[in-house]
Amino acid sequence: MTFGQPLFLLGTAAALIPLLVHLFDRRRPREVPFAALDFVLRSQKRTASRLKLKRLLLYLLRTLVLLAVPIALARPSFATAEAASVKRGVAATSIVVDTSLALRWGEGTRLFERAKDEAKSALRGLSGEEPATVVICTRNPTPVAPVGFERARLMGAIDDAAPGFEAIDLNRCLEVAARSLDDSPLPNRRLVLVSALTQASLRLEAQPPMGAGLKGEKVKPEFVVRDVAKGKDLPNRALVDVHAEAAPQLGPRAWQFTFTVRNFSKEAARDVELLLEVNGEVVQKGFVDLAAEGTAQKTLSWRFAQGGVATVTGRLEADALPDDDAHSVVLSVPRVLTALIVNGSPSPQKYKDEAFFTEAALSATGSPVKAVVRDADAAWREKLSDYDVVLLLNVDTPPAEVARALGEFVNAGGGLFVSVGDRVDPDAWNAVMGGLLPRKLRVVKTAVEPNQGDASTRAARLTQVALDHPVMVPFTGRAREGLLSTRFYRYALFEGDAQGVETEVLGTMDDGAPAFLASRRGKGRVFVYASTVDRDWSDLPIRTSFLPLMQRVAGWLTGTLDEREEVRPKVGEVVTLKPEANQSPAWAKAASGAEVALTALPQGGGVTGGPMPEPGPWQVVDAKGAVLEKLGFAVAIDAGASNLARHGLDALSDWLGEASVRTSGSGGPESSTPLWTWLLTAAVVAFFLEGLLLRK
């Protein structure tokens, strides 16, 4: 117990007054001859024991009144004997207000509203000679003002504070708060922590914060903890992840979404509703059962009517913390692509036809590509602008006007795929198409004749694959092994990079020769495969990797695949975007109106912005305000922040090394009502009871 105004304790000597009056009051009573003395004697005998008790009660009540008033005026507060021995009287105070996601929890009223009341109450409870400051505990905590007496400014800062969407590091905030008191001339320091005390925010394995004394020595401040959760648990469930993947087996543009739901409470929940929203409209509904402190997954699917960017949101039945019950993802649903397959080596036998495997791959179920196969003569008569991508499969050297048309087609945003074969004359191709290819053709290398008996062992193989490229992203794990085991009997070799052209090598043979080359030309893209797409020079067409490879090549050539697909930052993280050459993103905007500026990274590394302040879908706009739809992304709440498991007050007291933990409701002393108020109330009640007893 410590006292703010210990001098008032001298007033407790007044409690001796009733005893002194009892001992020294010797007034002589008036003598009255009375006829009915027998009745007086009888009454006195009858009431003697009751009167004795009454006199004792009166004595106690009077003593209580005279004791409670000076103690109340001395402004008592709880503290351990250790703290009380060194920290008495006024203290410089720093009030730390937690803004973690947990403070958004609420049944009717959010905990943060209570936290603000508690912080203001703590501020009001300080005596006039106690300097104070407030630290709103955010990702970058700083004191609202230097420690001083600007109460109005501190009150305003508390009023303006808002809860965040992540688990804030309270230990850091306490350090900042402790340091903010270093400049105070007062020897006593006090930290008031207003928090929900979640384990995600406060690490008790760390050392409690220390301040610096007037001579630079370390000083342990007095701690007062105001638990806004009133010592209760904060049950919560959250939608912590959404995994989206294409589901071609369900039809074109079909996707399935696997939602991961975690129950952080100690009670199981049955039939929790889960909604699937596409662009804000509910399209599917499901239910999940959640074990106590368990995790469940639920998969819902949806087939998009058309391609384009879509915002998909999973939304759980709301609980006391609704902010983590929704989880969004921004998808790029492939649109229907039209492809012109130019068959350079047609054959009536399908398995010998140059275009057979490619057409089959692009026309498979779930493929976004609508392919048209033409021989070279017919193809040159086609209007190229009607197609998204043109695939030249082992084609003779195109006429000059066709080569020019192909160049214009690519520069305008079209995609060009080139595979070689025995019909491709490198010199003639270089002369006509050299300016369009990533690298000029050199010669054709034969690793082994396909017909030889040991061809399968002597054939060339892929050794390196650029798995970070969108085309190659699916080839991880066993899929990568399948791709790398492809045999190449014969393949084209290429010259070095042409000047001014950036070429990406997505795969190389075991001799280092490129197998896949990609480059951008104008608004379009070019992809070159160094072997054949039939079985003449390679067995790639009959491998399982061929189908997804061709579909993703078609997607990349038309710009429907890009790096944005993996942009899923958490709240508090920095977002990095890779815009196309013709895009200049300037801002990211949330539906709530929040904005984050995007800045360009050096060496064409894209743009970056953040940390992201809130969850949900975000749009990206350029400097003119035009929405760059394909760069949109979704921000998620970290699952750790949704875990609202709390520290016990005992553990907290052990950590702080003193018994100064208070709660704002049941489970401990009422922190919003100071102790002196109770003492004064007790004095008034005792005074009233004393009067009542006297009247009887």
């Binding site: 009573p29 027998d38 009745f39």
Partner: protein, 292 residues
């Protein structure tokens, strides 16, 4: 002067009527329930052995040849004794008059009225070990003796109602009216019973229970040392603390006394020392008139 002229003038307008069971001698006012010697013929009855021969009506024998005995109306005088308690507690009073003052004024008033009606009145003043009596007489000069005796009485000693009852039973041979003026503060359990036992000896008993306002209301506030008026007992109490209990005890005592009197068929009149004495007497006399 004990007798208040205004009080006496108001009482004089009423006729004092005794009960049928009390004998009286004044003609026209008090009829006797017994037949006796008189000049006024009442009726004849058949002679029976044992009747006095001097009452035989010889004229009737001449006419009817049967023996008849003559019977006469027997007029009587009322004998009344005013018993006044002169114990120490009767000296208490907070309204100007002590209980003894009020008791002797009432006794004197009633004696005056009775003697004026040719009835016999006496007085007895009692306390522990003392019994001073003036026997009942109906002469006008007797009133002075009664008043002198009452006037010289002073309060002292313990109340002894039992001794009073025994002395009256011995000294009152005929049916009499016994008026008792006392506060009945007698510690013995059977004291009141023995007083009321006079009623079983055919006496007409009227109880005047004298109480003071302070005894009824216990108006004391500050710590007080109460001393006894009959012995040397004393006690210091805070009156506010015991007031409720005292009033409860005292009212229970008043109720018990009143109920005992009514059960014994005795008249009971509670007299506060601060109320007008004539009103009390008129109330008493009026109630007795209703019984006749």
């Amino acid at each position: 002067m004990l007798l208040d002229a205004a009080t006496l003038s108001r009482i004089a307008g009423l006729k004092f009527r005794a009960r049928a069971v009390v004998e009286g001698v004044l003609s026209g006012l008090h009829k006797s329930p017994t037949h006796g010697q008189s000049v006024e013929f009442a009726e004849h009855k058949d002679y029976a052995p044992g009747d006095e021969l001097r009452h035989l009506d010889w004229k009737a024998y001449g006419k009817f040849d049967k023996f008849y005995v003559k019977r006469f109306e027997h007029e009587t005088n009322l004998r009344a004794v005013m018993v006044v308690d002169t114990s120490g507690s009767m000296g208490f009073g907070t309204s100007g008059l002590s209980k003894l003052d009020v008791g002797r004024v009432m006794a004197a008033t009633l004696a005056h009225l009775l003697i004026k009606q040719q009835d016999a009145a006496g007085v007895a003043m009692v306390a522990q070990g003392r019994f001073a009596e003036i026997p009942p007489r109906s002469t006008a000069g007797h009133l002075g003796a009664i008043l002198d005796a009452l006037e010289t009485a002073s309060p002292r000693g313990l109340t002894d109602l039992a001794m009073t009852a025994d002395a009256l039973a011995e000294k009152l041979p005929r049916r009499s009216l016994v008026c008792i003026f006392s506060d009945f503060f007698d510690e013995r359990q059977d004291a009141l019973k023995r007083i009321l036992a006079l009623r079983s000896r055919k006496h007409d008993v009227a109880v005047f229970h004298l109480v003071d306002k302070a005894e009824l209301e216990f108006p004391f506030e500050d710590p007080t040392l109460f001393t006894s008026m009959e012995d040397d007992r004393r006690i210091e109490v805070n009156p506010r603390e015991i007031k409720e209990s005292y009033l409860e005890e005292f009212n229970r005592f008043l109720e018990a006394t009143q109920n005992a009197c009514r059960a014994a068929d005795c008249d009971y009149e509670r007299v506060r020392t601060d109320e007008p004495i004539d009103e009390v007497l008129l109330r008493f006399l009026g109630r007795r008139g209703g019984k006749l």
